[in-house]
């Protein structure tokens, strides 16, 4: 891993078109700004991992999901009694 030291207001470039800027440092929190082109999506890692994990589960079971749902429709609410 490349390690760089930056101060508030300073940036690093990743490739030609991704710029990461340190906006504010307070205690053990850092506010970071990211400028990136639209093909690059920026997420907090833990949230990205959650979404990727759910997608992977959906992809892994795509065949059985397709089989289970081929003739299925949303269950209708039971009539109110």
């Amino acid at each position: 891993m490349l390690v760089l030291t930056r101060r508030t207001g300073q940036s690093i470039m990743i490739g030609n078109d991704v710029k990461v800027t340190v906006l504010e440092i307070r205690n053990d929190q850092v506010r970071i700004g990211v400028d990136a082109p639209r093909r690059v999506q920026v997420h907090r890692e833990e949230i990205y991992e959650q979404i990727a994990r759910e997608n992977a589960a959906a992809i892994r079971e795509a065949r059985s999901t397709t089989e289970a749902l081929r003739r299925a429709r949303p269950r209708q609410e039971p009539p109110a009694s």
């Binding site: 639209r38 093909r39 999506q41 959650q50 992809i59 079971e61 999901t65 749902l69 003739r71």
Partner: protein, 138 residues
Amino acid sequence: MTETEVPNLEEAVVLQFPAGIPGFPGMRRFALQALVEDSAFQLLDSVDGDGVSMVVTRPWLFFPDYSPEIDDEDQDELRLDRPEDAILFCPVSIDRDAGNLYINLRGPLVVNARTREGRQVVLDDDLPLRAVIEVETD
């Protein structure tokens, strides 16, 4: 964002996801097609990959009160100038051991019907990654 009319997708429609979709490494083009005629479920199938796919559905069929807030950045990236151009699908997964079906309400796929570009957005709120859905068959 609310529900909009969608085509019935009997024929596959090819969509571009310029930022890709987590879990589909390197893949940008996807064909979306109804599982069968008039199905509530669709298959999102990678055109570039080797048959990598996932089942998706319209969340409002199961959660009529679902009201995702698509942030300005995602709207800009998708060039969603008109809300009625937005079509939204949620990934469906299955837990065969538990016999449960889930949809992911936190990470919906939003598509601009005009440009046919899509993006999986991540909603900030406390929407579930796995909401149980119930289906019935004939």
